[in-house]
């Protein structure tokens, strides 16, 4: 079980284990980690839902943010399920950074074998990657569907960190307020989907191709995070977005600090929605704010 997009589902599947990208609900009453001032609600909800999961063989977290890294520290103290911390480098422009990521995937592989998985052959990994390339990303486990962008409402992009299941109500509210989401650039949306695999490279060295493709996922945590802006520069006009909603959880410093910069950069009307993870997206206050925002885009 994992939630971070830098964990390749195909790598887990190639070990004969079932990958499950957990998008927390969160489960009511689950409190392996209590609500603590300063703790990201998403990180907490993930840890609690993962800990409460039955038939979970192992949990994979990553170092993409400090909050998750520290949640891992507490999780290994509190639960019996084996957990693994995948080191995802923040830098990406050196030769050493993707190599470190590749080494980490190999280490993850050894962890999966210890969990009862089998060491995958090159062919098996390649086959699983090919299958993934053939299937529509909308079918991928855990990832939210790509918005169809159809209809006549004001076109809006939603950008930000991951969305918990219940915060997906945001999409319906935008629709009900006369808008339509044309780009889901959240961590649980299109932005975090890996690019299609290259068939030739995949045949030569599937693990290397897997690592290269996943390592290129644009994210706010990258230093520098210019690739995220490059991705947005291509996707916002392609989707025809006329406004941007930035959603982030309170105490998520990485997205929080990005709002003003994104605003200066995008030259589009922006609305910031920060959530404590208590289901506030469905509140009248948020609904009114979205309504007012969509009005300005008409």
């Amino acid at each position: 079980m994992y939630t971070c997009p830098y964990v390749p589902a195909q790598w887990i599947a190639a070990h004969g284990l079932q990958p499950h990208r957990l998008i927390p609900a969160p489960i009511e009453g689950a409190s392996t980690i209590p609500r603590i001032e300063g703790l990201c609600p998403y990180a907490r909800a993930f840890a609690n839902d993962a800990a409460a999961g039955v038939e979970v063989t192992g949990i994979v977290l990553t170092t993409a943010c400090d909050q998750m890294r520290r949640v891992f520290d507490l999780l290994v103290h509190r639960i019996e399920t084996p957990a693994f911390l995948l080191n995802v480098p923040s830098t990406w422009q050196t030769v050493a950074a993707p190599r470190l990521y590749l080494d980490e995937l190999k280490r993850l592989g050894r962890f999966l074998v210890r969990l009862g998985g089998r060491e995958p052959s090159k062919e098996e990994l390649a086959r699983i990657m090919l299958d993934a390339t053939a299937s529509h990303p909308r079918d991928e486990d855990g990832v939210h569907g790509i918005p169809c962008g159809c209809g006549s409402g004001a076109p809006v992009a939603v950008v930000g960190g991951p969305l918990m299941q219940r915060d997906r109500v945001l999409f319906d509210i935008v629709h009900e307020c006369g808008g339509r989401i044309v780009l889901d650039a959240t961590e649980t949306g299109q932005r975090s989907l890996p690019a299609p695999f290259d068939r030739r490279r995949l045949t030569d060295d599937p693990l290397l191709e897997l690592a290269q493709v996943y390592f290129q996922i644009p994210d706010v945590s990258r230093r520098p995070n210019g690739e995220l802006y490059r991705w947005l520069a291509a996707e916002l006009p392609r989707a025809g977005a006329r406004g941007v909603i930035l959603h982030h959880y309170v105490w998520c410093d990485k997205w929080h600090a990005e709002f003003e910069r994104l605003k200066e950069w995008a030259h589009l009307p922006m609305l910031r929605l920060d959530s404590e993870g208590r289901g506030e997206m469905d509140s009248p206050r948020v609904r009114n704010r979205i309504h007012a925002f969509v009005e300005t885009l008409r």
Binding site: H77, D253, H256
Partner: protein, 460 residues
């Protein structure tokens, strides 16, 4: 040795300095009354109490004149390197070259306290979208915008990877404002897998040798950047000499800490010791003078210990302190409440350990960077804290939370659990904002209660 140790106010210090000046007592070039810093806006100084030794005065004046030194260095044609989120690695590289001066922009962390939130830096950070949900280091953004607290460096480096989200996000914001940054990675330090080649690190942790090699390659990039900036070659011999010099600072500090944390009565107050420890990270923009300042402080403490003088009460509760305080006055407050410091972990314990001198210098620095308590698990950090508690004979632990800091939400829980399990000591978690005036009664009550608990336990 100065007269009987006693804490004095800034006004008392200024009268004393005036007297010395009239008597022709020599002072360092940056010496003089502390009141001039308060007049310049560092108004928190008026609320603090200081050790009355000349060594302590020198320490304070050295700390408070860093900006002047940086501007003078630039005027003298030296290049300035801002080493962000770097607790003691790049400065060692930079100070190995004689035309570079490294400093620590993160030091702006304390400006909201020292200037009692009157600097306007937090308001600037707010306007840039970095509000009070971030740790006080956000003041650094304002300092870059105003250019009023340090000159804009010629090269800006920042370590990322296993660092706090606060700093990583703020540095990215800074980069977005047009300040180019050389990012370098310190990966999360993990426990080597069974059978994996491992390297023993300074301070007792170990790391996979592959991670040490990785950091070494990152430091190689930094070395090249510094060479380019300085126009000089930073070869291994030059760097080795730089390491020896840095180790000199660390050795002085180690002796100072040993004496200050173990002698009874306590020979040097918590506040001066906190400042002294900070010097190890970045040398306050003058490595040679750091050595002189620490030597003088160590000399004073040694004399006091030999003479059996220090601060009362002799039965003060022996406290181990975790994390630096955003409000310096809280260090005074602890002593007012009947405590004394016997061990600290101010987020940079590794910067106090000797850098290995028997391995190639970049390898040594890579090992040192990976020994940072903050890049490993909180359990590792807690384990080191437990070892230090035993070494210094602390009787209770205070985990001081830093408002907004991403690591503070969960670390207190883990540190507390381990300390209680291993040492059976009481643990108090408090939050210290840059100005604690409004919280003072509550904080005093909690500190006094901890001191009481410690004393009651002695009688059991």
């Amino acid at each position: 040795m100065s007269e009987t140790p006693r804490q004095i106010t800034l006004q008392e210090w200024d009268r004393q300095v005036e007297f010395w000046q009239a008597a022709g007592v020599p002072q360092p070039a940056y010496g003089g009354p502390l009141g001039r810093h308060a007049a310049d806006g560092d108004t928190r100084l008026l609320q603090l109490r200081y050790d009355n030794s000349r060594a302590a005065l020198r320490l304070w004046n050295f700390l408070l004149t860093e900006e002047d030194r940086l501007r003078a260095a630039r005027e003298a044609g030296r290049k300035l390197v801002g080493t962000m989120k770097d607790l003691g690695t790049v400065p060692v590289l930079a100070y190995s070259l004689d035309n570079l001066v490294a400093f620590y922009p993160d030091g702006a962390w304390w400006i909201p306290c020292v200037m009692e939130v009157n600097s306007g830096l937090l308001q600037i950070a707010d306007s840039l979208g970095v509000d009070e949900s971030f740790c006080p280091v956000r003041a650094m953004l304002g300092a870059f915008v105003t250019g009023a607290h340090f000159p804009i460096p010629d090269l800006l480096t920042c370590s990322v990877g296993a660092t706090c989200d606060d700093f990583s996000a703020i540095a990215q914001r800074l980069s977005g404002l047009g300040h180019p940054i050389l990012w370098w990675e310190i990966p999360h330090r993990r426990i080597p897998d069974p059978g994996e080649e491992a390297t023993e690190l300074p301070g007792g942790f170990s790391a996979p040798a592959s991670l040490v090699r990785f950091v070494r390659s990152e430091l190689e990039r930094l070395r090249r950047a510094l060479e380019e900036l300085s126009g000089q070659t930073l070869d291994d011999d030059t760097l080795r000499r730089g390491i020896v010099q840095a180790n000199h600072v660390r050795a002085l500090l180690a002796r100072l800490r040993d004496l200050a944390f173990t002698a009874t009565p306590c020979p040097m107050p918590a506040l001066e010791m906190l400042i002294a420890e900070m010097l190890a990270i970045h040398f306050c923009s003058d490595q040679d003078e750091t050595i002189v300042v620490l030597q003088e402080l160590l000399g004073e403490v040694t004399l006091r210990v030999a003479a059996g003088t220090g601060y009362s009460p002799a039965d003060a509760a022996r406290i181990f302190w975790v994390n630096p305080v955003a409000d310096l006055q809280v260090m005074n407050l602890l002593e007012d409440c009947g405590g004394r410091i016997c061990g600290t972990e101010y987020l940079f314990a590794h910067a106090l350990d000797p850098i290995p001198e028997t391995v190639p210098p970049l390898e040594a620095l890579a090992q040192m960077a990976l020994a940072d308590p903050m890049v490993g698990s909180t359990t590792d950090r807690a384990t080191r804290i437990v070892a230090e508690i035993r070494r210094f004979g602390a009787e209770a632990v205070i985990v001081s939370r830093i408002p907004g800091a991403s690591h503070c939400a969960l670390e207190g829980e883990i540190i507390g659990e381990l300390v209680r399990a291993e040492c059976g000591l009481p643990v108090l978690e408090i939050e210290v904002p840059p100005l604690t005036d409004a919280l003072r009664p509550t904080l005093s009550t909690r500190l006094q209660a901890l001191v009481e608990t410690v004393k009651n336990r002695r009688n059991r």
